[in-house]
Amino acid sequence: MQPSLSGYLLIGAVLFTCGVVCMATRRNAIGVLMGVELVLNGANVNLVAFSRYTTLGIDGQIYSLFIIVLAAAEAALALAIALNFYNNHLTIDVDKASSLKG
Amino acid sequence: MFLTLATQSLAELLESAGISSGWQYAGAAVVHMALLFGVFSLCPFFFIWMERKVAGRIQDRLGPTRVGGRFGWLQSLADGIKLIQKEDLCPPAADSLLFRAAPYIVCMASFAAFVVLPFSDGWVAVAADSGLFIMLAVMSLEVFGIILAGYSSGSKWSLFGGMREAAQMVSYEIPLAICAVIPIVAAGSLNLNEIGNMQSGGIQNWFLFHDPFTFIAFFVYFIVATASCKRAPFDLAEAESELVGGFHTEYSGMRWSFFFMGEYASMFAVCGIASILFLGGWNTGIPAIDQGLAAMRASSGPSAYLGGVLGIGVFAVKAVIGVFIQVWLRWTVPRIRIDQVITVCLKYLVPISCFLFLGSITWPLLLHAGQQRTTWTSEPLGERMAAAIPGNVAGRPANPDEPAANPDGSDESRHPASDVPSEAAPAGHAVTWMKPVEVTR
């Protein structure tokens, strides 16, 4: 299989879909977070591929750098929230987070 | 065979033998992989022997004396054979997939770092433009193997060891990266090959002596590197007195030895980085010898090959001295407590390295304001940069299509302001980024 734009886009699509399914099915908060990382990575693959195979040039790579940095920030905050949640409820099952339900 | 190898690159040699280009590529790749693998397995082989010998001498013993003659040269081989024979155990409480995979992750992370490490001028598997960054990135994967080993063993000792190790390695990565960036600020390049070449021509050109901040940064880097290789006095993860064996308590035989191969290889890797960033890499520090070696490398034929080999020798001596000091420290300094390890890193080493980083940025600016020059002892870096970048592959002339002396670039580099590194001189750099520096893929 020769590297090509459509090949990269296919990988991006697979990663994105797996991430969405993972986010939808997990009840573990950290599992949901891993799904988010997969989704962002799918987007990154597309951006890098566009930077390589179209005239987008360096822009695609810079966008993917920003995505990686923001994903790291998001993971740090989400984990802080998960730890806080665990401290209060002794579980990280997202279905148990229903204190605010009427 | 030797002579043809010396005069031509491997792919050219294979081409002359009438092999098609695909197989040429594959053949050259296999040979290079074999060379790298040889380096990787020789490092632990030599260092384990050295560790035992040094430990013996420090403790007033003889160390290994029997295997392989008088000095016990082949002791590591005997150890290896013993380890291969041992049973490969997997405790029933373990998560077997992760338990089996963890040693390979550790080993692979240390091994992959050698791909971008130049051993001599142009003798590097991949001369990536962001070489140092890739190397640090790949070496940061090692911690994951250790966490997985600790977690999947299903044992308290392993889990504690793994957690300690992870906390230690993650926090020591911060000062490690900052200290590695300090000479980068001076050099204005992340390409390890360029950095090595910039330090040719005299010991005063080494980045160790570039300014007082890089001088201190070297020692901070060495302490931090020792800790990030989980060596004593920072070897809390495998503290025998408290944690049995730490994260590798449950491992046996070859899997156990993979952790140690990884550890010794990463010791060599961090000392290699120190040698290139601070100690001039393959330059001896004596101008006459350096010029001779550079002329040898720039010539064609066997002498270029010999020049490369001598460069490897100089580089390896510096790196092995670093490893020797790490071994020496291990058998001299008592282990410190885990809270002290983290305190030392976060309360002292991180602020110190941040201060050094700031200092190394302001130093050339202050010096330029006072003395109209940006370096203290050595030649301005702009001139060295211009000298370092065109001629890069041993025995291969720079591409004639490239403007050898770009009018803008050479004028800029003589101007004292241009060796204020990085941001201050975009014009000088604008010339260099367009030249693909050196690729031996």
Binding site: R27, N84 | L148, M434, P436
Partner: protein, 200 residues
């Protein structure tokens, strides 16, 4: 079949299988392990696409940083060894079907587009000059200096015409991201600070 194709196939297969295994496996630490395989192979794909710097950032920040953080969180929050939180089979089947449908939709959309002429179409639509011949994105992955200069507000790849015009690089986003990271650092430290567990 050259070396590039071999590695592309290898990384593609391991990235896709890793992503699938993340979805399928039930143990959180195993998920993290498969996620490493997936993200590591994605980094390999970036190296193949001549984006060395992005690949290295991916390895350093994602695999060496974020995933270590994730595993830490798993260890701090699990109440027993090898914790599993099961999802009911009905949900799994439903999610799998929706996922497959979504995948087909994305692939159908992507194969329906002619990607060959995108460069000139982008140039026409946005009135940006396409990069002149001096910059070759595929120059063996030596993208470090162009990226650095773009983050400082210069655009070497757009030629001299672009500097000083609307397309002046990414200095402002870079600064915003750096402030954002500082805010996140403080916020995460505030949220995760040690508190006494509520007696329940």
């Amino acid at each position: 079949m050259n070396g590039e194709a071999v590695f592309f196939t290898l990384f593609t297969v391991s990235a896709c299988l890793g992503a699938l295994a993340v979805v399928v496996s039930q143990n959180v630490v195993r998920m993290a392990f498969w996620l490493i395989i997936c993200l590591g192979s994605t980094a390999g794909l970036f190296f193949l696409a001549d984006a060395d710097f992005v690949g290295a950032v991916q390895l350093l920040i994602y695999v060496g940083g974020t995933l270590v953080l994730l595993v830490f969180a798993v260890m701090l929050t699990s109440s027993g060894p090898y914790v599993k939180i099961e999802t009911s089979p009905g949900e799994v089947i439903l999610a799998g079907m929706i996922g497959l449908l979504f995948l087909f939709m994305v692939i159908a959309a992507q194969t329906g587009i002619d990607w060959e002429g995108t460069g000139s179409r982008i140039a026409e639509a946005s009135e940006i000059d396409p990069p002149d011949g001096t910059f070759d994105t595929g120059a063996e992955g030596h993208t470090l200096r162009p990226i650095g200069m773009s983050l400082l507000g210069l655009r070497p790849d757009r030629g001299a015409a672009a500097s000083g015009t609307l397309f002046t690089g990414y200095l402002l986003p870079f600064e915003i991201v750096s402030v954002h990271l500082l805010v996140v650092l403080v916020g995460a430290a505030y949220l995760a600070r040690a508190k006494r567990r509520r007696e329940a």
